[in-house]
Symmetry: D2
Subunit: 238 residues, 4 copies
């Protein structure tokens, strides 16, 4: 990692900043798969940050599958995200976007489970309409994020618990942000990738339609987790 220009900026959460800078090294190829990262102590010195900040950044890079820690040996680069990632989102924004998915997996998984038990015929109809809208929108990613959000909102509404809708509304900007990023990455991928994104939404709808709450929970959690993973996967992964 000699010769890296790791310039500590002064804004936002320090852990996210450091996360962003290491991410940039990985995306640019300055650090490649299998490379060993500097030790905690070295990272503290290089970036003039405290140990807890380094630990936080490393933990999050690990949670996102970008690096892997091997007991008693050190931390290694594990996966190189697509080139366009940094162009599409600021490097330090990526940390925040991936954190948003962590919240959505349990939250929307539960909303989908409740929707399978409680949706009225009208609510189910609205989820179906949102799904059709999303099918059309996926051809032009600009409008797809709004259609995507509308689908997830319709599911939350069908949960029979307004608090799920309120939370999703609170997160509106962050969620649509992450959807735009995810859909842009999808759009740069194969047509197959778009079909899978649609298929994932279709499974959620079906499970809610037949009232299978476990399947609805599972399909929603799987979908959001896949969306999170796609952000850091090479497009060749499909």
């Amino acid at each position: 990692m000699a010769g890296l220009k790791l310039l500590p900026k002064r804004k936002e959460r320090l852990g996210d900043q450091l996360y962003g800078q290491i991410l940039e090294q990985i995306v640019s190829g300055a650090l490649t798969e299998g490379d060993k990262l500097p030790s905690e102590k070295e990272l503290c010195l290089m970036f003039e940050v405290s140990r807890p900040v380094v630990r936080e950044a490393m933990m999050l890079l690990q949670a996102d599958g970008l690096v892997v820690a091997r007991q008693g040996s050190g931390t290694y680069v594990q996966r190189r995200p697509p080139q366009g990632l940094i162009a599409l989102a600021g490097a330090s924004d990526v940390a925040g976007i991936l954190r948003c998915y962590e919240l959505r997996v349990p939250l929307e998984g539960e909303a989908a489970a409740l929707a399978a038990k409680r949706r009225s015929p009208e609510q189910l109809e609205r989820i179906k309409t949102a799904l059709d809208e999303l099918t059309r929108a996926l051809e032009s990613p600009a409008s797809a994020a709004a259609a995507d959000f509308a689908f997830h909102r319709a599911v939350a509404e069908a949960s029979g618990n307004d608090m799920f809708v309120s939370i999703l509304e609170t997160l509106h900007a962050a969620v649509e942000n992450s959807m735009t990023l995810a859909l842009n990455i999808t759009a740069q991928g194969s047509a197959e990738r778009s079909r899978r994104v649609l298929d994932e939404h279709g499974r959620i709808y079906e499970a809610i339609a037949i009232g299978d709450s476990d399947a609805a929970n599972l399909a929603m959690r799987y979908h959001i987790n896949r969306a999170r993973q796609r952000i850091t996967e090479q497009q060749s992964d499909v």
Copy 2:
């Protein structure tokens, strides 16, 4: 159910209102365990509400374990909550309070799982301090809700994801409200009940301390679900 005075009030969500009125009948003993509720059609007429409103109320009463639907036969009263419940919270507030738990189970379960993986030694220390505080506070329920909230907030902070803290802050009033109700009901119960509430918190702390994220998730979900159940259980249930 002849002779019941079911007066539809004009405020808040209609489903919660109807929920509250049926709940009052059950708590007061006007409807007792095993009694059959009027049919959907009859409830619509009695309360001058639409069918979806009746369905919503019935679904939530069922989710809370107060009534049970028997296929092709009708809906029956299943459990009589403690007498003091309506005195402690308005009857129609109870619906909202129980809804809050539905959200907290997946949300805080995930926060606890992440905390087990990511908490710094300082964050763990803060969870321990909050636990000790709660132990003392349980002797005077007035201050216990604040101590209880502080414990849950410390866990969310240790998740390494600020969004969990933000959501909990957003829910502050609703959550502390439900804690006050739950702790008051606990305080009216046996000393054994208080010990169990403490034990549940202790398990969450322990799982986070040893870094077992599945156990932490499980202990938190179990605790919140038990708190929700205690609200509608007779104290003799312990």
Copy 3:
């Protein structure tokens, strides 16, 4: 449902037999989507079986998404499985096969989660080899079930807990049976369907490789649940 020839056979579990006979009516088109099924009482008379047997069969048909119960109205046909289903498996075997998936979802989900935490490099290599084998085998469904089983066995082995392997071995015949059925249905479907089956296995492998136990659990549960659903889905569903 007049004119149906529902001949109660005398073998195996009565509930599975009745399940099989109603399934045959749905597959053959004698009962079509939206049709109302006879009442519990009528079914008892038609098939000369007791009420618990009818209830068991209805519950399982519902769990498999084939029929849906509407509160206070009755039970309706919800989905027509592919024509070939009965040809590929005996009608009353289908119930048993779908029951096997219910067990595998939690069991193998946990095995995958443990594998993500504990697999040695050699065990991971064996999972990869099994995945490559499956990729080749999917072109000739005859051998695909064996390759599919080998993949699932390799994951169980990597769990570091021999009991997961023992149980899978105990279930060998039943599991390979269900895989053969599922893969035959897949083979009659589009090439897209085969790609998805492979993709699902790929996700499990990846999550184990990067050590993400929650993602591994989720990917395995999703895969097995999808396999179960594909058995009763029309091929046009993809």
Copy 4:
């Protein structure tokens, strides 16, 4: 760890043997809380076993909460199990017993969830009878394991899926073994501890009785996980 007599025996799985020997050191107090364990390399030499065997043993000790690994620093003793543990079960059996719980958590959790959805009135009655039996039996631990197994078997039967019963039967010896151990440890503890074990079973019964499948799943998973934890907890933990 100087002066420890670590005698590699020749039987069963090597990982479980090594696990048992380190466990003995911890139980006897030769290794106390906070002590650092020898490195992987040293353990290989001390016990004349290969690296994968050491890794397996360390991973399982960690999963059981007995030791904790600190990134880049080493592995430390975290918890001292009750003195009587080794007397009650052979040291190397403990590893196998704890592995059995790993399987039971997802398996019986799912069985309880299905039981909440499907149990007939007769099946529910049988679960209640088993619970009453267990209440009586807890006063004489000798017969309690059989009563405990009968309760878990009755839940599996109520799942409407015979495979859950078959698996539990297959595990009969191992499960009753672990129950005997857990109940003996409970019996050596306070009366409070016995009340909690009963309370946990009571929660499972109640959730099944009111048909709440999520609560049943949660209560069963929590109970089995607690049983597993109690085996290695000091009795003062309650």
